[in-house]
């Protein structure tokens, strides 16, 4: 089915319950849905499992960790280097209040893709012989050993893109693409914030990087200014 246009990011979260798994697209600032994240923060949604590459200190998702809205983080980048400021996530994690599942970034991307593509999991050599591979099943193929990593889907996915048409076709901008086309395939409800919504036919069909079938809700809003802080 095709997408619907919503008048605001708060409206775009209509009907979303607590206790959801939530994919948050973007890589640091690129393609990250700060407007939608802050709407989730305002909404007070609790019991969230957040699936995202990393947590920016003191912004967006980190405020949801501060305010106890998130129970678990599935990410590739979580605990920072010695000497750097701790995120609210890290404080909660060290206090034993939230759970962390750390995933190698290629495995993270591919597990999300597997969920979206109706596949039963992925077979990767990455993580073997490390703590992130411990206890996981392995499969032998042609004499080589691979980790079997499970698909990673979610109830809701949010991310930012450049433009969308009213059907839900989406075009990204530069390195703002990253995990977003994958997450768009892997959640039951996909919500996208964009710079601009146009009429069908205004996007070059070659530049539609996420076709409309994957998108449920779109909302136009200016990017929220955030400052990169490592």
């Amino acid at each position: 089915m095709v997408a619907e246009v919503y008048p605001s990011v708060d409206d775009a979260l209509d009907g979303i319950p607590n206790n959801i798994s939530l994919m948050i697209g973007g890589f640091v600032t690129a393609g990250a849905p700060f407007n939608l994240l802050h709407a989730f923060h305002r909404r007070g949604t609790t019991g969230v499992t957040a699936i995202t590459n990393s947590v920016m200190s003191g912004q967006g998702l980190d405020l949801m960790f501060r305010d106890g809205q998130v129970d678990k983080l599935i990410a590739t980048f979580a605990i920072r280097a010695s000497g750097s400021k701790r995120t609210h996530f890290e404080e909660r994690y060290l206090a034993g209040e939230v759970e962390l599942e750390l995933v190698p970034q290629g495995t993270f991307a591919e597990r999300i893709r597997a969920a979206g593509a109706g596949l039963g999991g992925i077979l990767t050599p990455v993580g073997l012989g490390t703590p992130l591979g411990e206890g996981k099943p392995t499969v032998e193929v042609d004499g080589k050993t691979f980790l079997l990593e499970r698909p990673l889907g979610a109830d809701v996915a949010i991310f930012r893109a450049h433009r969308a048409d009213r059907l839900g076709n989406v075009q990204y901008r530069k390195s703002g693409r990253n995990f977003n086309p994958l997450m768009a395939t892997a959640a039951d409800l996909v919500i996208v914030e964009v710079d601009e919504i146009v009429e069908p036919g205004e996007l070059d069909p070659e530049l539609v990087q996420t076709p409309a079938v994957f998108v449920d809700r779109i909302v136009q809003c200016a990017p929220l200014e955030v400052v990169w802080n490592g």
Binding site: F27, V28, T29, A30, G31, S54, T76, F77, A78, I79, R80, A81, S82, E90, Y93, L94, L100, L102, V103, P104, Q105, G106, T107, F108, A109, E110, R113, T124, P125, V126, G127, L128, G129, T130, P131, L132, Y172, R173, K174, S175, G176, R177, N178, F179, N180, P181, L182, Q209, P223, V226, W228, G230
Partner: protein
């Protein structure tokens, strides 16, 4: 020997280490630079070498770190703003790791905490923070055609980082090809570690004294030329 164990020799600066790593990159190669010290490498690439830098967040063919104009959607895997060279491309994370796991990264340069004599690498777990971050490091370590680790030769306390066995949780097993430190350039060979170059003014004995496993001296062991 007693002296070298108590007094640490003066080695390369971070900039000189990056410069030495840059010499390993050849024209036409596809190269991924890890966060931190490895990123510096791009600044020391000779003008006659055209290297395609890949960032695992979905950019191929970036130039250097951008100046003041910050574009939130144009960053490298460390979150730093970057410039683009002619012939650059953007793609999603699945395609990015298809490049990496598929063996299209000719050289990956990663930071390290510990390297073992069999090539094991530990570089993600931060003991004093009770956890860590892997990012793309595990994929790069397992799948890059050649893995260069660049790190200080010893810890702040003077303990060796090049060990018989890593004591920190591993990033990947038997993955390191070359280690560049402030003191030496060491190749990980099938049968152990080979000391190929020493930093200017540093002796092989001084390097060995700060290295846990025994180093074999290369027949053409030289001082680094920077």
């Amino acid at each position: 020997m007693a002296e070298s164990q108590t007094r640490r020799p003066v080695g390369l600066t971070r900039e000189l280490m990056a410069m030495r790593v840059a010499q390993e990159l050849q024209d036409g190669m596809v190269v991924n630079l890890g966060i931190g010290l490895p990123t510096l490498t791009s600044s020391y690439l000779p003008a006659d070498k055209k290297v395609l830098f890949q960032a695992e967040n979905g950019v191929l063919g970036y130039g250097g770190i951008a100046g003041e104009s910050y574009d939130r959607d144009l960053i490298n895997a460390g979150g730093q703003p970057i410039t683009l060279l002619p012939g650059a491309s953007f793609f999603d994370s699945a395609t990015s790791f298809t490049m990496i796991r598929g063996g299209h990264i000719d050289v990956a340069v990663l930071g390290g905490m510990q390297v073992a004599e069999n090539g094991d690498l530990a570089n993600w777990f931060v003991p004093d923070r009770g956890g860590g971050s892997v990012g793309g490091a595990m994929d790069l370590a397992v799948c890059a055609r050649r893995l260069i680790v660049v790190m200080e030769h010893v810890t702040r306390d003077g303990a060796p980082r090049i060990l018989k066995r890593c004591t920190f949780p591993l990033t990947a097993t038997r993955c390191v090809d070359l280690v560049v430190t402030d003191l030496a350039l060491i190749e990980v060979a099938e049968d152990g570690l080979v000391l190929r170059e020493v930093a200017p003014g540093v002796t092989p004995d001084e390097v060995q004294a700060l290295t846990e496993p025994t180093l074999r001296l290369a027949s053409d062991l030289t001082e680094m030329s920077l």
